[in-house]
Amino acid sequence: MNQLIEKGKISSSQFKFAIMCFLVGAALITGFYAKETKQDSWMVILSGYIVFLIFLWFYLLLVKNFPGKNLIQIHDLIYGPFLGKIISALYIFYFFTVESFNLRDLGNFVSGSLLPETPIVIVLALTTIICAWTIHKGVEVVVRYGMIFFCLWIILTFMTIILSYDNLKFDNLLPMFSQPLMNYIHGTHISATICFGEIIIFLMIVPSVNDQSKINRSFFQGLTFGMIALLFIVIIDTIVLGKYTPILTLASYETLRMIDVAGIFSRMEIIFVAIHLILQFFKISVFYYVMVLSIAQVCNLRSYKSIINISGIILISYSIVIASSNIESAAFGNDAATFFSGFFELLLPVITFLIFKIKKKINKSTKDNI
């Protein structure tokens, strides 16, 4: 059977902070569901979290039944070498697509806020070079800074709350439950697949964690704290911006722009841009690492180092092709991406686990008959 390629080890707390940091990176795309549920967006995050917990249970069952194996190896064991390779190839396509969208979001964010005149390909290329450099150093370096980045983000959030004290209007949260039911279902679907569901990629990193008994707790705590962090962002944005939240693509950015304390503390948004660039960089490097690792695993290579640079080039090309504008990528994220990602994040792991159970049962009954 395939050997594990990654030799590096990470601790379970690093793993936990990596998940948190990864989830907070989704703060850039709160606009996707704010369109649907307006002032009730915070409920959507809670309900998406609860729905996703069910699927997380299936992930953890897979991890428990195949200790020390990553997602690609699990597919090989359950579906057999041929079908397993096809499903793994589909997953690689999914990793590629989601990562390209994240890279594109970062590019749009930078060219919308900092560098409006620069061609987007320059921003994408610079980000990819830094990420490729990180991945050359191995998994330890990729996840090591998760904790620091998350702490930076906590400082930013508390600063936002304190400094935007004048702008807080709690009436903006009212009226509750005023949208049609379908909007809540749609919003829950978006938050479960696009915000939380992406942590399926950590199933590729699980074998590198040195204390395997704490995996369940790391997953759960990482997900919960990440959810609370997202909840904070959405609630603050809603309270400050009110009815303008749905029409803005970068609500948190506008929240910080509103800050003006006695004419001294103003134009704070540059700090937001810096910290969110760091978070998004973290998210992209984790995705990039997982993508390169899965290609190497499927092709049964001895090391993934040789294909890092060349897949970076494909990544840049793909993220230019993938959407012609900011609006197009937001439209995909709002509608089709929920089904596309949902297939890989929610449906396939459950099917994989059920097939595993059925196979186990059949094997057991044939053994009993003999």
Binding site: T97, M182, H186, I295, A296, C299, N300, L301, R302, S303, S306, I307, N309, I310, S311, I313, I314, S317, I320, V321, I322, A323, F332, N334, D335, A336, T338, F339, F340
Partner: protein, 71 residues
């Protein structure tokens, strides 16, 4: 733009190939070459201004076709 792309690809090839050949990693060499050719074709087409078909459009119309859409 065209020349920049070719220079970048030459740099990557010079950077990776000697190492792979020296360590006799033939399987890695095959995968690398496959990805290299794929990336090279796409990047060259993009740099001379030809539109590459977008797979996302295909996914969206497929999902519409099987009625999986909120709109």
């Amino acid at each position: 733009m065209f020349i920049v792309v070719i220079i970048i690809f030459i740099i990557i090839a010079l950077f990776e190939l000697p190492l792979l050949i020296k360590e006799k990693q033939w399987r890695e060499l095959i995968v690398f070459s496959g990805l290299f050719v794929f990336a090279f074709i796409i990047a060259i087409l993009q740099s001379i201004g030809i539109d590459i078909p977008n797979p996302i459009k295909g996914i969206i119309s497929f999902l519409k076709y099987i009625h999986l859409s909120y709109k």
